[in-house]
Amino acid sequence: MLLISCPNCGSRDETEFHYGGQAHVAYPENPNELNDREWAEFLFYRDNTKGAFAERWLHSTGCRQWFNMLRDTVTYEIQAIYPMGAPRPDKAAPAPESGTASTAPDSTTTGTAAPSIAATSLATSTAPASTTAPEGATK
């Protein structure tokens, strides 16, 4: 049983959550231009990383919000929890300078009730928002 720290609700049992697979898979920008191979990639191919894996989770019996998690698929250790729309923390570009660090995650995962997630988050706010691909993930 994983103990998962929901950004909105705090630590809860894995049984309250729903797994959403690989994170950061953007909906094709120009769907009409995709060939069959590219559609296959979008629909059926996902990374199957052995090691640190960025994935989506839904707190389905809690706040019902999606969030991202960086988890080791061998040890199952949760390395970071970060908002939808934010870049993957371990791959984030270094912050160009302080003051530009707002990542504008989708507003649903922020809120005054959110407990601090600093302990489980690697630098969720170090990349400029413009580098993140839009995600159609909150469904």
Binding site: M1, L2, D13, E14, T15, H18, Y19, G21, D36, R37, W39, A40, E41, L43, F44, Y45, R46, N48, T49, K50, F53, E55, R71, T73, V74, T75, Y76
Partner: protein, 405 residues
């Protein structure tokens, strides 16, 4: 009394060092790798071949599965390959000269809702058209075949009937692996344990060798049979597979006198149970939801399947869980395997058997050997090619494969 198992055999194969080169190398010494090597040697005369296993022989899913063998799948393509496997299971003990206790005690798939009933009856019809033995049982017939099943209608999901395949059953999985390994060894195949493939040597787009922790081995052809690690190997070779690896757990109770005469599976309440030859109750259910390469899963998955088991089989309430374990299963989105050529020349893949590939072992081996030897699909594995994810010709077996088994 429970059945006596055959004596543990003395050494059945040698442990050779890898040769500098082979005509073909099979990566993965589980059931599928061993069966493939056996049929390469036997049917195609390819004996200068090796099976490379990173751990010990058949220590992966082959040692961890719950050994259910059946062929009652819905679609023609699946029925064809699984039924071919079942026919091979029926003759293999003699052919391999090894009694691995294939026990055709039948498999029941319970229906608990009207949706289940309709789907099950449809599958029975499809099976019969495909020459697969299948029948529909009403609750009374279910009870006659398996008296310990609770068919009362005062439970949350009463048993509304079941499909039944009389020729289905269980076998001793480790003995199956040893049977194949011994024959492989006799035919001249090198079985090399503790030999992990860490990369591939390519000449342009053609594979020409494998890198291992025991040195580089040249080879004309490579066949991947690495189950849960298939995408890791594909990545080393430079292509992707539409596979997600998940932990899948199972468990056994202590030994009991024979009480359970068949195999019972329930997709809906999510548990399946058989009683092993020695007497343990063997149970399993679904995968853990997340991707995982640890050979363990979460306890709540086990708790859930125990609740289902006790409702269906009240007499199990006082049995004890003796051991639980997990394997790493390679699931696909249509719950069907992937067998065939890859984007890399001379490299072939057999994977995606997921939660239910033990039953397919002989047919996987037979048809994959054909594909490796000839470079072309076998009639039975052709529909399972990687291209189906592009063409859209998926083989959706979620109905027949929904409980992990």
């Amino acid at each position: 009394m429970a059945d006596l198992l055959p004596e543990h055999p003395a050494f059945l194969w040698h442990n050779p060092d890898p040769k500098p080169s082979y005509d073909a190398v099979i990566v993965g010494g589980g059931g599928h790798g061993l069966a493939t090597a056996y049929f390469l040697a036997k049917n195609h005369g390819m004996t200068n071949i090796a099976v490379l296993e990173k751990g010990w022989l058949a220590g992966g899913n082959m040692a961890r599965n719950t050994t259910i063998i059946r062929s009652n799948y819905l679609w023609d393509e699946s029925a064809a390959i699984y039924e071919h496997a079942l026919k091979l299971w029926e003759v293999l003990p003699e052919e391999l000269e090894y009694d691995f206790l294939f026990s055709q005690r039948g498999v029941m798939n319970l229906a608990h809702t009207l949706g289940d009933v309709r789907e099950s009856m449809r599958r029975v019809g499809a099976n019969q058209l495909n020459g697969v033995d299948a029948e529909w049982l009403d609750p009374k017939q279910v009870k006659e075949l398996c008296p310990i099943l609770n068919i009362n209608d005062n439970i949350r999901y009463p048993v509304m009937g079941a499909t039944y395949q009389p020729r289905a059953g269980i076998a001793k999985h480790d003995h199956v692996a040893w049977a194949f390994a011994r024959k492989c060894d006799e035919l001249g195949v090198d079985i090399i344990q503790n030999c992990e493939v860490t990369g591939f040597v390519k000449d342009g787009n053609r594979v020409t060798g494998v890198k291992t922790n025991r040195g580089t081995i040249n080879t004309e052809k490579v066949g991947l049979c690495a189950a849960g690690h298939s995408s890791v190997l594909a990545e080393m070779a430079g292509f992707r597979l539409p596979i997600q690896s998940h932990p899948l757990q199972a468990l056994v109770s202590e030994l009991h006198e024979p009480v359970h005469p068949t195999v019972v599976m329930s997709n809906h309440v999510h548990v399946y149970v058989s009683q092993a030859h020695k007497g343990e109750l063997v149970m399993g259910a679904g995968v853990d939801s997340y991707n995982g390469y640890g050979q363990r899963g979460s306890f709540h998955v086990i708790e859930h399947q125990m609740a289902a088991a006790v409702e269906l089989f009240p007499i199990f309430a006082r049995a004890h869980v003796l051991r639980t374990w997990g394997g790493i299963v390679d699931t696909t989105l249509d719950a069907s395997p992937i067998v065939g050529t890859t984007p890399v020349d001379n490299m072939f893949v057999n994977c995606g058997w997921g939660t239910g590939g033990f039953k397919g072992t002989p047919a996987a081996g037979l048809t994959f050997a054909h594909t490796i030897a000839t470079g072309t699909p076998h009639e039975l594995n052709k529909p399972f090619a990687l291209e189906r994810f592009e063409t859209g010709a998926l083989i959706d077996e979620h109905g027949a494969a929904a409980v992990a088994h």
